[in-house]
Amino acid sequence: MDEKFDCIVIGGGVAGLAAAMTLAKNNMKFLLIERGEFAGSKNVSGGVLWGSDLAKLVPNYWEEEDAGWERFINHRRLTLMDEQSAFTLDFKSSHFNEPPYTGVVVLRSKFDNWLSGKVQEAIDASDYAMDSFIATNIKVDEVLMENDKAVGIRTGEDEFHADSVIIAEGVNNLLTRQVGLQDKYVPADHMLTGIKEIIRFDQDVLEQKFQLNGLSGMSNEFVGWATDGVEGGGFLYTNRDTISLGLVLGIKDMREKKKSPHDVLNHFKTHPAIADIIKDGEVVEYSAHVVSSGDKRAMPRELYKDGILLAGESANLLMNAGKAIQGMDYAMRSGILAAETIVEAKKKEDFSSATLKAYRTKMDESYVMKDINGFQDAVHLLHTETMQQKVPNLICDFGRQFFTIKNEPTPKSKDMLKGAVKRHASFWELAKLGFKAGKSL
């Protein structure tokens, strides 16, 4: 491996693997470096991979007997919680039953490993079958810079050289900081901790519990009581014979409110609606990982510099604007676009920022940056106390009255709603909220 690579990709997550796949398909000579035993072994997500980009990387992936994904989503739920109640917006449609699916649930240790196998197949089919590599068990200590341009990487005593480096190291982006694209210390303000348990059931039991058919699956997000007063939300996704149940919790808010993530997870699991779901399950893994919030104030100052491109969570590409938690699909698209930029740079034999800035343009023109730029107000709104606590409380209060049947005259719904609003917020507050929501969504 003395020779110089066209590109070194750092990190075997969704972004790095999408980049590697694209490089392999374009006959580029590259090295993908993963610090875990295998791609995926260090990776955690909620997690749903939204959108259909996966079909671009691995056409007809759904036809494969044991592909790396768990279930496709055809059933979406958003639940507002107070202490005793759960008020759910529920949408299920056979419209989502046909491939390419618009969302698949994944477990990263399996999914990334599978995708990495697909990348190896693409390498084997490329002109550089003997010269491109996926190397595991290697931690990159440093991106090597010469005259402020990346020329390779160092791991321990060893150096590997390349015309370009795609940093896809994930949210804890030490190398992104080393090359000066982000500050050495990133404050907790817009960062959250994701924490989850994998809970196993008999597959039949799970399928009956969630009304699943074949490989269909459900995603459920939670707002309100779930987080015990901490900024954030909850999630539940169905895998083959397990569920992923967890929370995303603001780090700054936990610091200030003296809350432990594992205590908040216990709290969430005691909610009657959750306790009934999980009662006969067995916890088989506990995990946690930091995620970014989609707030642009936390993002690196640029996505590129001489010889370097950032993809995925290294660039804090993740957003929850109320519809879904999107991160892996942003990782996938950014990895693809980063690799395409490298392919173009190779044609020009120019890997300077003058050429690599095309990546910025591609990203700005893609749905990733269009959504991140367009939904900043929604991200801010979603993190306000009104949305996090008051709205779930008042909706559940209203629901309790609306669905209570007593043998006495029933008040009109609008009076129930008025009462609920008065108990938990004010009309003025809701009017402001409605106005902001109308603008931001």
């Binding site: 035993e37 594992h262 995990s287």
Partner: protein, 100 residues
């Protein structure tokens, strides 16, 4: 379902180089900062693996063995006490997720 204790939860985690008694810590914490000027000592409650503990004299202690590499402490500590890195694949600890 009975909630698990944190020790039971961590018992489900597969760590690397489990057989090695001597490992190179991937996070270095300057607990002198925690125990002198830090106004909150928040790592003792925000860490999902409870690697930071407080003793009866309110002194912060750190152990890296249970670390699941989530990164929370790197952001939560605003006092400059946490020097965070990834574990060395050969001589470090850290995780291998079975599900992830």
């Amino acid at each position: 379902m009975k909630n698990l204790k944190l020790t039971e939860r961590l018992g489900l985690v597969s760590y690397r180089n489990q057989s090695k008694s001597e490992i190179k810590p991937h996070i270095i914490v300057d607990t002198d900062i925690c125990n002198s000027t830090c106004p909150h000592k928040c790592t003792t409650w925000v860490c999902p693996a409870n690697c930071y503990t407080m003793d009866e004299n309110n002194k912060v202690h750190f152990q890296v063995e249970d670390c699941i590499e989530c990164g929370t402490c790197m952001y939560a500590c605003d006092q400059g006490a946490v020097d965070w890195n990834y574990p060395d694949p050969e001589i470090g600890r850290g995780v291998t997720w079975n599900f992830g």
